[in-house]
């Protein structure tokens, strides 16, 4: 039906994945391969299940009562639903829509993940914190104030702190749920640059409402749409250049040219 194949070794694979909130089906028959070491953006109108799908990949939806799923999602070749959820989230990090640093110092924010996984050695922690903050392009701005609270930073800095916090756990995949939607254009640009640098080491999946962002920042684009019964499905998936210049589906064209959504 639709071209859901993409080049590159698949990192995340969804097979006949369905998700229900109680009786309401939010995701219908999701079949997709997300390639390794690339940036995949998910776009589509509001309420079509983009974030829901993203939050399925690290099983964050399980925090919501009465969510049921059928079908499978694989990380490499491992079924994520039979895996230990804590172990899974260590491999699949997440950056949320609103920056959510903990009310702790910058250092403690970044060291939180490694400490949770049992790392106690102070020297090693310091190294990880420095590397993560450097990778998140925040080190130069905060290196003299590591003991200041993370909440004292600006919104853009907070979001980069959250990215550093996710990197510190050394995940393989980073999920980003509209990471720049609460930020000003300059902070947004910084985050996008940062994401470009991260793809060498990580597989990045990013939900965005911003067409330009998807067009300039991602390698692959997944377009979600809504069925008449309001359940979400993937209408088109392919290279970003193809989706934005030569979409196969009329709906995709209408959506990216701003005619609806």
């Amino acid at each position: 039906m639709r071209s859901l194949q993409s080049n590159g070794k698949p990192k995340i694979t969804a097979k006949n994945f369905n998700l229900f909130y109680g009786d309401f089906q939010a995701l219908k028959e999701i079949n997709v391969d997300i390639p390794e070491h690339s940036i995949t953006s998910i776009i589509g109108p509001s309420g079509c299940g983009k974030s829901t799908f993203l939050r399925s990949i690290n099983r964050m939806n399980e925090l919501i009562p009465c969510v049921k799923t059928t079908g499978k999602i694989f990380l490499d070749a491992n079924d994520i639903f039979t895996q230990d959820v804590v172990e899974l989230r260590k491999q699949v990090g997440m950056v949320f829509q609103r920056p959510n640093p903990f009310p702790k110092s910058i250092f403690d924010n970044v060291a939180y993940g490694p400490r949770a996984h049992g790392l106690k050695n102070k020297a090693v922690l310091e190294e990880i914190v420095e590397k993560s903050l450097t990778d998140a392009a925040l080190w130069d701005e905060v290196k003299d104030n590591l003991h200041k609270s993370g909440l004292a930073l600006s919104g853009g800095q907070q979001q980069r702190l959250c990215i550093a916090r996710a990197l510190a756990v050394e995940p393989q995949v980073i999920l980003m749920d509209e990471p720049a939607s609460a930020l000003d254009p300059i902070a947004t640009l910084k985050i996008e640059e940062l994401i470009q640098n991260l793809k060498k080491e990580y597989t990045i999946v990013i939900v965005t409402h911003n067409m330009q962002q998807a067009a300039r920042a991602s390698d692959h684009t997944m377009v979600f749409n809504m069925n008449p019964d309001r359940s979400g499905y993937i209408i088109e998936y392919g290279k970003t250049s193809q989706i934005f210049t030569n979409p196969h589906e009329k709906i995709t064209e209408d959506y990216i040219s701003g005619r609806f959504g």
Partner: protein, 311 residues
């Protein structure tokens, strides 16, 4: 557009404009009346408070001096002696009661807020238990303290044969403040943004690590407030301790000793002796302690807020 209006319509328009102007005046006046009224109510409330405290302080402080604070009560029809042992007993009782009630209360609240939902999904029976426990806490919070006293007397003093003692009083007092601690802790936990929990879980922390590492530290100010409120509740309670602590004004030697708290001492001085001035003096001390406690709440919550927001 005005040209298209007939004379009739213009008249209506003008009248409406005029009425709108007077309307603004009327609204201003009603606002001023409301503000004056609210001010007066506020002043009245403060005046009553100042009157009470002023009365107690002016009548009572004349009996308060270092000797009054450091000598033990000597009993008698004139309420001889000071209040030293009652201060010590109060401190003992507060510490003992809280060492029972605080861990229980905080633990219960953590379970209700962080774990109960999850457990409820697993079994109908647990769901039912949790609902009963929740309702129980709510009911207990509104039960008059003398009922806790009677319960303590029947169970701890008589049935378990603990007698009039710090132990009986502490256990009964714990029952009294448990609902307070549970509810304030619950509120504090519920006020922790869900995004903190998601952030922590998303990093691969376990639920327990999330509770200990992020949720509790963020909720500490609210929890501390609940604890300090309970301290105030214990200090000012008479009914419960009247029937569980006995009334001995000797210094308690161990948990099985009877004793007398400050508030209980006020009650006994006022009802069983002629030393009404000493009752007022003791009350003045009590009020000061409560004031200091409230100040402590304010300062500590300001301190925590500052630390949390990182300014």
């Amino acid at each position: 557009m005005n040209q298209s209006l007939t004379d009739q319509e213009k008249k209506i328009l003008a009248r409406e404009k005029a009425s709108r102007k007077s309307n603004i005046q009327r609204r201003r006046i009603s606002q001023n009346i409301a503000f004056t009224f609210l001010w007066l109510i506020g002043l009245a409330a403060i005046a009553i408070l100042v009157w009470i405290i002023g009365y107690v302080f002016t009548k009572g402080l004349s009996t308060v001096n270092l000797e009054f604070l450091t000598t033990r009560p000597a009993g008698g029809f004139d309420g001889e002696g000071g209040i030293s042992t009652t201060i010590v007993t109060t401190v003992y009782l507060v510490i003992f009661t809280l060492s029972i009630a605080a861990p229980l209360g905080i633990g219960a609240a953590i379970y209700f807020v962080e774990y109960a939902n999850e457990a409820q999904n697993r079994s109908k029976f647990i769901q039912w238990l949790v609902r009963i426990a929740r309702t129980g806490v709510e009911v207990l919070a509104g039960v008059p303290s003398i009922i806790f006293g009677l319960f303590g007397f029947a169970v701890f003093v008589s049935y378990m044969k603990l007698g009039f003692s710090l132990l009986s009083a502490g256990l009964s007092g714990a029952c009294l403040v448990l609902p307070v601690i549970i509810r304030t802790t619950e509120e504090a936990l519920l006020a922790v943004p869900e995004s903190y929990r998601e952030g922590s879980l998303g990093l691969g922390a376990t639920k327990w690590q999330t509770v200990i590492g992020v949720v509790l530290p963020t909720a500490i100010p609210g929890i501390v407030t609940g604890i300090v409120l309970s301290v105030g509740r214990i200090i000012s309670e008479t009914a419960v301790f009247w029937v569980t602590l006995g009334g001995s004004y000797r210094l308690p030697q161990n948990l099985m000793s009877s004793g007398r708290t400050l508030a209980l001492h006020v009650y006994m001085l006022a009802t069983e002796t002629r030393a009404f001035d000493k009752a007022l003096g003791t009350s003045a001390i009590l009020i000061m302690i409560i004031m200091i406690l409230n100040l402590a709440i304010n300062l500590s919550s300001k301190y925590f807020q500052k630390r949390l927001s990182g300014k």
